[in-house]
C-alpha cells in the first residue's frame, strides 16, 4: 500500500522532527520533574527515569524512523510497531510511575485537584481491567478483522487516531492490571489475574486468526510472520506483566510475623 506521495529528504527530515517533538518533550519533562522534585523530597530513583525514557523511545519507534516507515508497506514491521507502541512502551512507562512523579512535583493545591480527578467515577471505569481489555484487545480485533486496517493507510487522521488509541489503550490496560502509581479504585488480585488471562488469550487468538485469515491487503506470508511476531512478542511482554502482578501478591500476602525488610 503506497501513498503515492514521495517526500524529498528535506521534507522527511522536517516531518520526522515534528513527529519526534512530543516524545522529546515527554522525556525532557519527566527528567525535569525528577530533578525538581528531588530537591524537595528524597531523590527520584534513576531506574525509573531509565524506564520512562525506554518506554517513550519504544513508543516513538512506532511513529518515527525506519520501523514506522516500513510499516506502511510491510505488515511485519507494522506488527513490530504495534508491540512497541501498544505493549512494551506502555509497560515501561507504567513501571516508571509517572503519576507519582507528577503528584510530587506539582504544587500541593494543583496536585490535590489531580488526585480528585483520579478518584472520580470516569476514572473508576477507565481503570477497570474489564473495560481496558475491551478497549485494548477489542480495538485490535476491530482493526484487524474489518477493513479498518486498509482504510487506516488511506487516511492520515484515521492513522493518527488509531495509533493514539493503541498507545492509550495499552497504557490504561497495563495500569489497570499492575498498580505502580496511586490507584484509588483498587481491585482484587484474583479479579485482575482472571482478566489478564482473558486479555492474553484474546491477544493469542487474534494473532493466530491473523495468521489464518490475513487482513485485507496483506499478503499471506506477511500475515503469517506478523501473526507469529504478535503471538510471541505479546507473550514476552505479558510475562513481565504476570511477574509484576504475582510479585505484588507475594508482597501483600506476607505473613505478619515476618517483619518488613528494612
Amino acid at each position: 500500500m503506497n501513498h503515492g506521495t514521495h517526500h524529498s529528504p528535506a521534507d522527511t527530515g522536517m516531518t520526522d522532527l515534528l513527529l519526534s517533538l512530543p516524545f522529546i518533550l515527554l522525556i525532557v519533562t519527566y527528567i525535569a520533574a525528577a530533578a525538581l522534585s528531588s530537591r524537595r523530597y528524597k531523590s527520584w530513583p534513576v531506574y525509573r527515569t531509565v524506564l520512562w525514557t525506554g518506554g517513550v523511545l519504544s513508543a516513538a519507534l512506532a511513529i518515527v524512523g525506519p520501523i514506522a516507515e516500513r510499516a506502511h508497506t510491510d505488515f511485519v514491521a507494522h506488527m513490530a510497531g504495534h508491540l512497541l507502541l501498544g505493549m512494551l512502551g506502555p509497560l515501561l512507562m507504567v513501571l516508571s510511575a509517572p503519576m507519582t512523579l507528577l503528584l510530587r512535583t506539582l504544587p500541593v493545591t494543583i496536585a490535590r485537584r489531580v488526585s480528585r480527578v483520579l478518584k472520580s467515577p470516569p476514572l473508576r471505569v477507565l481503570t477497570d481491567p474489564v473495560i481496558t481489555t475491551i478497549l485494548n484487545v477489542g480495538g485490535l480485533w476491530v482493526l484487524y478483522t474489518t477493513n479498518l486496517y486498509a482504510a487506516m493507510h488511506e487516511n492520515i487522521f484515521l492513522y493518527a487516531f488509531i495509533h493514539l488509541h493503541v498507545f492509550l489503550a495499552g497504557y490504561f490496560f497495563t495500569a489497570s492490571i499492575i498498580y505502580i502509581d496511586p490507584a484509588p479504585h483498587r481491585l482484587s488480585f484474583v479479579y485482575r489475574s482472571v482478566v489478564l488471562i482473558i486479555a492474553l488469550a484474546g491477544h493469542s487468538i487474534l494473532s493466530k486468526y491473523i495468521y489464518a485469515y490475513p487482513p485485507a491487503g496483506v499478503p499471506a506470508s506477511q500475515a503469517e510472520s506478523g501473526g507469529m511476531l504478535m503471538y510471541y512478542g505479546g507473550d514476552a511482554v505479558d510475562l513481565v506483566l504476570i511477574f509484576v502482578l504475582c510479585l505484588h501478591w507475594y508482597k501483600a500476602a506476607r505473613p505478619r510475623e515476618l517483619a518488613p525488610a528494612s
Binding site: 482473558i198 491477544h203 487468538i205 503471538y231 507475594y250 506476607r254 505473613p255
Partner: protein
C-alpha cells in the same frame, strides 16, 4: 486465612504443611501445567518443529481453546512458582504433596492437549507423518500414567499422616 497467618509462628512445620495442604497441591498443579506447556512449546514447536503454529484443519473453537490454554499456562507457571516461594517462607512447603500436584498438572494437561486439542479440535497434530496414531497413543498413555502416579503420590501425602511425623 487471617487466622492461619496469625498462628503460624507457634506452629510446627507439620502443622503449617497441613494448614496449607491445598496451597501445596495448587502450587504444584499450576506449575505442572506451566511446565508441560513450556516443554510443548520449547521442544515440540521450536526444537523439533513437529507441532505447527496453525494447521488448516483447525476448527475456530480450537483457536479459542488454544488461546485460553496458552494464556492460562503462561500465568500458571509464574503464579505456581510464587506460591512455592510463599509456602517456603511460611515453612509450609510439603514436597511430596507439591510434586504430586506437579505430576497431576502435567498429566491432566497433556491428556487434554492430546485428546481435545490434537484430536477433537485438530489444532495441530503431534507430528505430520503417516503413522500419527503411534504418536497419539504414546502421548496419551504417558499422560494417563503421569496422572496415576500423581494421584498415588497425593494420596500418600494425605493430611492424616501427621502422626507419622511426630
Amino acid at each position: 486465612m487471617k487466622d492461619q497467618t496469625r498462628h503460624t509462628q507457634i506452629r510446627s512445620t507439620a502443622e503449617s504443611q497441613e494448614a496449607y495442604s491445598s496451597r501445596n497441591l495448587w502450587s504444584g498443579f499450576l506449575f505442572g501445567v506451566g511446565l508441560v506447556a513450556f516443554i510443548d512449546e520449547a521442544v515440540f514447536h521450536q526444537l523439533l518443529h513437529w507441532h505447527h503454529f496453525y494447521d488448516k484443519s483447525t476448527m475456530d473453537i480450537g483457536l479459542v481453546a488454544d488461546g485460553f490454554f496458552h494464556a492460562f499456562s503462561w500465568f500458571a507457571t509464574v503464579a505456581g512458582l510464587f506460591m512455592y516461594a510463599d509456602l517456603k517462607r511460611r515453612h509450609a512447603l510439603w514436597r511430596r504433596r507439591w510434586w504430586g500436584g506437579v505430576l497431576l498438572g502435567v498429566g491432566v494437561f497433556q491428556l487434554y492437549d492430546g485428546i481435545i486439542h490434537h484430536k477433537v479440535m485438530r489444532i495441530h497434530q503431534i507430528r505430520y507423518v503417516e503413522n500419527v496414531l503411534v504418536y497419539d497413543l504414546v502421548w496419551n498413555i504417558l499422560a494417563v500414567i503421569l496422572i496415576i502416579i500423581g494421584a498415588i503420590v497425593i494420596r500418600r501425602s494425605k493430611p492424616s499422616r501427621e502422626a507419622e511425623i511426630k
